[in-house]
């Protein structure tokens, strides 16, 4: 409820009152179905529905909550249109997309060369492109009694998760936290036991910033030595909550809902950067576009030293055909994605622990969505 109200007040400020109002009503399970006109009519102004249709999507679980949020708002505004998204993981999503089973795939990483080649068969005249739509950040969550404002940097995080730093009062940590009372206790580092985009982004960050302390290649599969593991972000968050002196990493929303403390990152800026959506948005604003044409795959600057730029960010993509989308779903696809990238759509997921895309980037995505054929 609290989150919902926050969302409403923020959204009011940007002027999409009717839509988000109906959104939070819907999410509260209220009776807005009883009077469809009241909520439907104003929402229609914010969501251009297009032809009614059924849209299938599959893929990343990291963006599952975002899609769910959009799906409810979109379904309320556009009678007859339904979005079905099954979160079986990015790999499974891309596979289904390339088999032509779904209109769009959600993926934690941009399409690989081989996937793009494979997508040409389904897209006929075009090929698969990456549209960054759901951005987030990774919190380094920890549970240490008496330590509230932990500061870590790339080498320290790498050392902790590779079992080279095993005690909380290790000099490497103490140096970054001169005032904190660090206990003489073993660090219980928890990583993901399943393959995940979160792990991939964390290890990409470590690869760039640990100065060799992370000797492995960035990958979805955990490569570090030692430590414990748990399945899914929910699993690692539960472990951190349960086990004293533990540390792990998860998307911001899990840190928020579990009331876990997030470490600030010493990036080389004048002061350590807190894990907040605003600080992450600053990093996204500086992201370079690696894709060509309407492909908007991003290159994130994990080694950023900008003031107030949180480096541990992740972006997930919707993968669609730039040309050659199926005629019967194209209209619904375009209107759904147009809503998703709109201010209203981005603010709506901002209340769920995601990071709304900065203006400049969302404009580019909008252009790409409009050009879909």
């Amino acid at each position: 409820m609290k989150l919902q109200r926050n969302g409403r007040s923020k959204a009011l400020a940007i002027g999409a009152m009717a839509l988000v109002g109906s959104l939070s009503l819907a999410a509260c399970g209220s009776d807005d179905n009883a009077d469809p006109k009241a909520s439907g009519a104003p929402s229609a102004a914010a969501i251009a529905c297009g032809k009614a249709g059924q849209l299938l999507g599959a893929g990343s679980t990291a963006q599952g909550n975002a899609i769910d949020t959009w799906k409810v708002a979109f379904g309320n505004a556009c009678a007859g249109s339904t979005i079905t998204y099954s979160g079986g993981g990015s790999g499974a999503g891309v596979q289904q997309f390339n088999q032509g089973k779904v209109a769009f795939a959600g993926s934690d990483s941009a399409l690989k060369e081989a996937d793009v080649t494979a997508s040409k068969e389904i897209c006929k005249t075009g090929q698969g492109i990456n549209l960054p739509l759901v951005a987030g950040l990774i919190s380094v969550i920890y549970n240490v009694d008496g330590v509230d404002n932990l500061v870590l940097d790339g080498p320290a995080i790498a050392g902790i998760f590779d079992s080279k730093i095993v005690k909380w009062n290790d000099p490497a940590i103490a140096k970054l936290n001169p005032t904190a009372k660090l206990p003489d206790a073993e660090i219980q580092a928890v990583h993901r036991s399943d393959d995940s985009g979160t792990t991939e982004n964390l290890t990409k960050y470590l690869e760039k910033t640990s100065g060799g302390a992370w000797p492995y290649k960035a990958s979805k599969t955990w490569a570090g030595k030692g430590g414990q593991s748990a399945a899914q972000s929910a699993g690692v968050s539960a472990q951190v909550k349960q086990v004293p002196n533990s540390i792990s990493y998860a998307e911001l929303s899990f840190a928020q809902t579990n009331n876990l403390k997030s470490a600030a990152i010493a990036t080389g800026a004048s002061k350590p950067v807190e894990a907040t959506a605003a600080n992450a948005a600053a990093t996204f604003a500086k992201a370079k576009i690696a894709g060509t044409g309407s492909d908007l795959a991003l290159t994130l600057d994990y080694a950023t030293k900008e003031e107030g730029s949180y480096p541990l960010v992740l972006v997930t993509y919707e993968i669609v055909c730039d040309k050659g989308n199926k005629a019967e779903t194209l209209d619904t696809l375009k209107s759904f994605l147009t809503y998703a990238v709109s201010d209203a759509g981005q603010q709506a997921i901002g209340t769920k622990g995601y990071v709304p895309l900065p203006k400049e980037l969302s404009e580019k995505v909008k252009t790409a969505v409009t050009a879909l054929a």
Binding site: G91, A185, D194, K217, K220, Q239
Partner: protein, 326 residues
């Protein structure tokens, strides 16, 4: 007059016979069809798994049987089942060691000790345990059992640490170990072993039991001499059913175990992995080679399960003469 009744009755009999023949042939074909279908399904599964496995074997820089890591989608794909074989078998053995004696005890209590009024609802309760979804066992294991295992773990570490396998080397870590997984699995396979054993014990010939009692045997001696030998093949097949479930259990293991590509005989330390758990956790994000590699591990589990069931069949066949069932 004299000839007509036999004709009539003969006609009825014939009609009856042809009816029953048609019924016979329908039933024969149905049951044969089911049998054939089962074989076809098994062959299809084996064929599919084998085909996909061989696709992945070409893209493996490690040894499939001795490599610890599972990195089939890495630039240099290396994956192996060593950790998974060990974890699967170790956790299942722990589960069997705990579950079989308890299940036999519960079954004997229900069939021979408890008053009928209690036995009935009690049996029902045990059956209910089988109806609990495995994710519930998993969550219970991860959120309740694991925090409460710390005491037992440190006790065993202190007094049984010399056995090496019960020695905890990771201080302060939550005991999300193969041992804890074994306990959760034991609870999960308890109902199936109990239910089958109970039915077998109930079949023990009444005459044997009464004869034993008449010769002056106590109730325990009667059970030992008349019931247990009779029920042994049944208990073995029940255990194998349970073992099958333990070997293949997926989501409960994935929730409880802290998996890692480490093969350690310290069963109380977090680490290790099982086939089904590995497949469940890796499938969603797996690429092409990753999926094929997981299929290959599935094939190995399939073969292990076949071997286990085959071994159980052999044990039962060898002990047939003692069973009293023939």
């Amino acid at each position: 007059m004299t000839s007509s009744p036999p004709v009539a009755s003969g006609g009825r009999a014939r009609r009856g016979r042809s009816d029953s023949r048609r019924g016979d042939s329908i039933f024969f074909n149905l049951s044969r069809g089911s049998g054939v279908l089962l074989l076809v399904i098994m062959a299809a599964i084996a064929g599919f798994l084998t085909y996909r496995s061989f696709l992945s074997f070409g893209h493996n820089e490690g040894n499939f049987f001795t490599t610890f890591e599972w990195l089939p989608d890495a630039p240099v794909p290396t994956f192996g089942i060593a950790v998974l074989v060990f974890g699967t078998i170790a956790s299942s053995i722990i589960a069997m060691v705990i579950a079989v004696p308890v299940a036999v005890g519960v079954a004997l209590f229900i069939s021979h000790y408890a008053p009928r009024r209690i036995a009935q609802p009690f049996a029902y309760l045990v059956d209910l345990l089988a109806a609990v979804p495995s994710i519930v066992y998993g969550l219970w294991g991860a959120l309740f059992l694991v925090p409460h295992m710390s005491g037992l773990t440190s006790w065993m570490d202190e007094y049984l640490g010399w056995t090496y396998i019960f020695d905890s080397t990771k201080t302060g870590a939550a005991p999300r170990s193969l041992f804890t997984v074994g306990i959760v699995l034991a609870i999960m396979i308890l109902p199936i072993i109990t239910a089958v054993s109970r039915e077998v014990f109930k079949q023990a010939p009444r005459m044997h039991e009464e004869a034993a009692l008449a010769l002056g045997a106590t109730r325990w001696e009667m059970i030992r001499t008349a019931v247990l030998p009779f029920g042994r093949p049944g208990v073995i097949s029940a255990s194998m059913l349970g073992l099958g479930r333990a070997l293949g259990e997926t989501i409960a293991v994935a929730t409880v175990l802290s998996s890692s590509p480490v093969l350690s005989l310290h069963l109380m330390d977090p680490g290790g992995g099982t086939f089904a758990q590995n497949i469940a956790l890796r499938f969603g994000e797996a690429g092409e080679n990753g999926r094929n590699a997981l299929m290959a591990s599935g094939l190995v589990l399939f073969v292990i399960t076949l071997l286990v069931n085959g071994a159980a069949r052999m044990i039962i066949a060898r002990r047939k003469e003692y069973s009293g069932a023939n």
